[in-house]
């Protein structure tokens, strides 16, 4: 565990609140799924919140974020409003993707959130391309890419690692190693399960981080993002974490034992951090209740917003297949 020395009360509360915001929002999503308000796929991030919360704090608004279908938390902490996220999950046009993307395809241009992605590994080259664009256009920005351990078996992962390292691109790979890709455990899917080691073989700085420790995540990401930003080339962080819920909403979880899940729940990132704040006398009962109330209020507002939302009109169905005519772009001669 990283020490809490130097942690301010305010900072501690922000981290705890952000983790609670994700947790409470997703717990509500699971209920809404049972009520068929949310349909299709729904992949919950519960148990992994410390990763998105810690990592996002190390990014600036100029940086880009690419994520997966398990991206509700990333979008929320990146600054997409809970209202827009919830409306998107309902399929309402007030959602961040107009209701066309759903849970797996949250997009938000203002916060440079380049999507959830339902193709495993599909986002990784995109992030490398964003980093290439930054390099070519002389911008000092970081492109952060979140993906799972399972994605590290895809060709696109390896091709991206090589390209990023070869061209020294400002990309930050954030691998969320939750030990499973759907129902397949990492030992059954990866010849080398230490994913940071594999990244290092492409000649980039890479290390693993306790993904249940929000302070460790923040510190590691800060260090890596600063190095990337200052021209240090791609960096790779392997966050060791665990998903507490099923892979998606239909998963009998035959592939892991209840004991294993229970053992990981002992390391619930929210409870761990809450306890540390209390031990360091940085959190009182009242403050804790206040944070919980903030998180629940936000969820309730989001649900109300989604409920009140409207369906995109049928006349728009064929809009945006191709871009609508825009003014001619000036190209320097």
């Amino acid at each position: 565990m990283t020490p809490t020395d130097g942690l301010t009360r305010e900072h501690g509360h922000e981290l705890l609140l952000d983790m609670l915001r994700i947790r409470r929002m997703e717990e509500r999503c699971a209920e809404l799924y049972q009520k068929t308000k949310i349909r299709g796929f729904l992949h919950l991030y519960i148990g992994e919140e410390a990763v998105a919360v810690g990592a996002m704090r190390a990014l600036t608004p100029d940086d880009a974020v690419v994520a997966t279908y398990r991206e509700h938390g990333h979008a929320l902490i990146r600054g997409v409003s809970a209202e827009k996220i919830m409306a998107e999950m309902y399929g309402k046009q007030e959602g961040c993707s107009r209701g066309r993307g759903g849970s797996m395809h949250l997009y938000d241009a203002p916060t440079r959130f380049y999507g959830g992605n339902a193709i495993v590994g599909g986002g990784i080259p995109l992030a490398v391309g964003m980093a290439l664009a930054d390099k070519m256009q002389g911008r000092e920005r970081v492109s952060a890419c979140f993906f799972g351990d399972g994605a590290a078996a895809e060709g696109e992962f390896h091709e991206s690692m090589n390209l990023a390292a070869l061209w020294h691109l400002p990309v930050l790979f954030c691998c969320e190693n939750n030990l499973y890709g759907m129902g397949t455990g990492i030992e059954r899917a990866q010849s080398e399960t230490r994913l940071a080691l594999r990244a290092a073989s492409y000649r980039m700085s890479a290390w693993d981080v306790d993904g249940m420790d929000v302070l460790a995540v923040e510190e590691a990401t800060r260090r890596a993002a600063e190095a990337v930003r200052s021209g240090g080339g791609p960096h790779f962080l392997e966050f060791r974490t665990y998903r507490f819920r099923a892979h998606s909403m239909f998963d009998p979880e035959l592939y892991r034992s209840k004991e294993e899940v229970a053992a990981w729940k002992e390391r619930d990132p929210i409870e761990l951090f809450r306890q540390r704040l209390r031990d360091a006398e940085l959190l009182t009962d009242d403050e804790d209740a206040g944070l919980e109330a903030l998180a629940s209020d936000e969820v309730e507002r989001a649900v109300a917003f989604a409920e009140a939302g409207t369906w995109e009109p049928v006349e728009d169905l064929e809009r945006f297949v191709l871009s609508e005519p825009a003014p001619q772009r000036e190209v320097a001669s």
Partner: protein, 342 residues
Amino acid sequence: MSTPSRTVEPRAAAGVRTITFAQAVNEALAEEMRRDPAVFILGEDVAEAGTPFKVLSGLVDEFGPERVRDTPISEAGFAGLAVGAAMTGMRPVVDLMFGDFLTLVMDQLVNQAAKTHYMSGGKLKVPMVLRTTLGATRRSAAQHSQSLHAWVSHVPGLKVALPATPYDAKGLMKAAIRDDNPVVIVEDKLSFQDKGPVPEGEIVIPLGQADVKREGTDITFIATSSMVVVALRAAETLAAQGLSAEVVDPRSMVPLDTATLVESAKKTGRVVVIDEGHQSYGVSAELAAVVADGAFYHLDAPVKRLGAMDVPVPFSPVLEDLTVPTPEQLTALAREMCGARS
């Protein structure tokens, strides 16, 4: 879309059980694996985790993890491995959970599997099967709802089958596994729990044999996969209105039973092709061209197509349902073509 039972009415016969599409596929795989030790399955979560759509349940228990092989998430890799293994004595069945992931295996399928036999002057064979899915209206959004069977149908060297009923699913799968060519079988995700009659014992349906799913005299619906049930429902409605629609299911795109399609077109004089792929440049265009060509002098109306709209599949449930042809649309189109008053 309101969905009454999708089950296609069993044609009564002795010794016939009613089983689900998923069970039918499962039986076909189990029987072929018992029959031929070279047959094995590989794909993501096919064994330990309980298998995508529960189609493969129990197979790992009978055949073990060597022959029902969980792979990492490496579609291009394991599809290519299947090609190699097929070239050297095995008969792999690749399980590709979603048809949308065909994009990831296209190189191995198109540049390797499809061409090896031809390029080697007939010296090498690639007896493999790739099972995958098609179909929207599951609220799965644009990257998990596509019907991309036209992509593979376009490539010489691949066979492509589209079973629409449990019976066809079993018989086509068994034929595909025994075929010495690479065969892509595309199954409708929504049909896995549909029930239908399947006789006990061996069924092998040769690829390239269409099936008349319902006889009629006024109009022919050439329907594939998920659209067979749509066509049958439309035919039902039309029957009540005094119009007799014939439903012909080609069952495989390659090889294609042009004779049966053309024969039906000649008989009724009117044809609608209905398929869940995007309407433009899809298999429906090919099927329409085949009947227009073969039955031109017998047609009373231009051949029409009904396909999915040319849009990525939207998540919004109200929009999604509009992208896929419905029995109501088909009924209306058929009435118009038959000059019936609406």
